[in-house]
Symmetry: C2
Subunit: 410 residues, 2 copies
């Protein structure tokens, strides 16, 4: 099964009778829609002449001040002058890659990592190398080893891309102790860190761990987003970068889109001023905690032996590894037939890994749907296990003839 | 004076006492703000769960249908499946360049041409070559000659970029007869045309001329925008491309920003459905016609001999050429001191041309401000002419030590 077939399957999977554990869409129906309707109306009524005009490539200065307040919630001390507003943090990823990566340059990232980051790095012809993770995030020794090997080969490494909190897709969090070690290793090798933190404030258990940026302002480009804490519909993300880098990113943004929507920036600005956004995030966290618990509870209760999964303290995703001999991508048609969908693990690797794994999202479906989805998935896995026991391991599907990127939502 | 100094001057020029004939901002205060306030409110109230969610990289299907209706106003017959919604037409320019241009590839464009297009082509390391224009747009013989010369040199030319209607910055329109010849030349050389038409519906005199895309669906990528006919604040532009190209552009858009703002797309959709948008464009045209007439009237009445300018039938811009021996960039500090601003001609060339020229915008200031601005500009030119007659020609300013792109608005 090749990428275009996965796209076709996802189209089928979007039918209402299918429980989708695939997409990473936040549950925006939990938003205070009346308040937001009032806010968008007021922005046009009160500030229309500004809101409907062109803005600057760096983004609205007042919004950038507010963004610094949001980052302060995670112990980041930043100047608004070093913030650039982007079309979701995806555009920030794109601009950073555009500025730093020449064809053939190495980009290090976690194994597995965010699908569309892989696509962006690949679009600029980066040589993408994965670094091993475990339950505490990336393994520092593996990072060090990779850097030493690449240095010995004379390869130019441009940055290390990490999603330290509730990682997409693995759901794991880089421990505080490892953050210090990762930074120490990167600084010793003169390597920039690209820290992507869209889920940081969505923590359901345990104590917050400060972002890497909080410790190392000069060697980290930090990416943030309102897509999960407010709405992806406004497409407001940001990059926080050391000044010299920030200036280059602003020029790249000017070339990429001239300026972001002034209107959307003023809407988010007003939301952050008028609305109790910290309370809203608490409400989100209660809702998502319940859904995560529903997923982990169902997995604990129903999954057959030999299946393993991560236990996220926040974010949207659980990473599940199938019993040996099963293939999550080959299993997809059967799963969709059984009215459950997930994202096969192979999408989260630039290499040919991840066949035994899958990403399960608990952000969008209700707890009841999640339990039903897991039940159906268990049926599929049991059926496949039976097949494996009868006919032996499944042959990996051919991937030739289709080089289009793997489809996904964030 | 180098680019950073021009940026600094533009900052000074944004002070209220300065009449700015520099920026290309549409006059959004002429919009029906009450209607738009109602529309944005309704989109959230009625369709919030969809509008505030992620969308597809290609853009909202219903909006793409509406975009086809807008293009039909200019005799373009298109399928919505071949439309991709972008963050202004600037992002479309960026995506097309990203898909087509490898470092060193030649991109042909008009002389002069849109500043930020130059910056985008340069960002992807294109070799930008200008083709001569006159009062009827690009000169077909010059295009043919350039293509033959480049073919003889074995150079790879990727596309010809043209703004055929009320060109930015020159204000000229490519004649109907020349459109056919330009297409014939490009097709004979197997060359793609990138047609940028943000001002097409803003015609104040004469008969409309159909876009190149209307004649040649298979060899033109067409770019459109709501930034001038509605508002740049929503950042909704589009590309219409032959299917094979469109598919590549969608993948590039996914990598660049995942998806555009669903909310903004639904706002524009509802505006096009609920509001008499054709009437709104007629109102805009009356307003802009009056402003253009104010500018041409003042230029006719006041400009000293030896100064020349174009007479646009639409759009936002007049291109003015100074008497010999004067330098528009060197003159900028004096002009800002006299409380008038313009964009020096050099910004509109990848080469070192345009020193005697400048772009004057009549879109944003009122007719009265325009007349006062021209009066001040005449004073500056007379002063510079006197200096020239006393001390001889001014030496061209050094441009070394600053390679940042020239600043501008569209």
């Amino acid at each position: 099964m090749v990428a275009s077939e996965v796209r076709a399957l996802f189209a089928v999977a979007s039918r209402p009778e299918v429980v989708s554990l695939a997409g990473g869409m936040p549950n925006v129906s939990a938003l205070p829609l009346d308040d937001i309707a009032r806010i968008v109306q007021q922005v046009v009524s009160d500030q229309g002449a500004t809101a409907l005009q062109y803005g600057s490539a760096q983004g609205d200065p007042v919004l950038r001040e507010h963004i610094c307040e949001v980052m302060a919630e995670e112990e980041i001390d930043a100047a608004s002058d070093d913030v650039i507003v982007t079309v979701g943090s995806q555009q920030a990823l794109d601009l950073v890659t555009r500025v730093f990566v020449d064809p053939g340059d190495v980009v290090l990232c976690e194994a597995p990592t965010y699908v569309t980051a892989i696509n962006t790095f690949a679009a600029f012809q980066a040589d993408i190398r994965h670094v091993e993770m475990d339950g505490d995030g990336v393994v520092p020794e593996a990072l060090e080893e990779a850097l030493e090997r690449l240095a010995a080969e004379g390869r130019r490494v441009k940055f290390f891309y990490t999603i330290p909190n509730f990682q997409n897709p693995a759901g794991v969090t880089l421990s505080a102790e490892r953050r210090t070690r990762v930074l120490e290793i990167c600084q010793r090798h003169g390597l920039l860190v690209l820290e992507d933190n869209p889920y940081g404030l969505l923590r359901y258990d345990g104590e917050p761990v400060a972002p890497l940026r909080a410790q190392a302002p000069d060697s980290v480009i930090y990416l943030g987003s309102f897509s999960k804490t407010l709405s992806p519909g406004f497409r407001i993300g940001w990059a926080l970068a050391p000044s010299a880098v920030r200036a280059k990113l602003v020029l790249a943004a000017e070339s990429a889109m001239l300026s972001h929507s002034t209107f959307n920036q003023m809407v988010v600005r007003r939301y952050l001023t008028d609305h109790a956004w910290r309370e809203q995030i608490k409400d989100f966290n209660e809702m998502y905690r319940e859904r995560r618990d529903a997923m982990l509870g169902a997995l604990d209760a129903l999954m057959p032996a030999g299946t393993e999964w991560t236990r996220p303290d926040g974010g949207f995703f659980v990473w599940l590894t199938l019993p040996e001999g099963l293939d999550s991508k080959a299993m997809m048609p059967r799963a969709v037939n059984e009215r459950v969908a997930y994202v096969p693990g192979t999408g989260f690797y630039a290499s040919d890994e991840g066949r035994r794994s899958m990403r399960l999202s608990f952000c969008y479906p209700t707890s009841e749907q999640i339990r039903e989805g897991v039940r159906r998935l268990v049926g599929v896995i049991e059926g496949e296990t039976e097949l494996r026991d009868t006919f032996g391991g499944m042959s990996p599907p051919a991937a030739a003839g289709d080089d289009s990127p793997f489809p996904d939502l964030p």
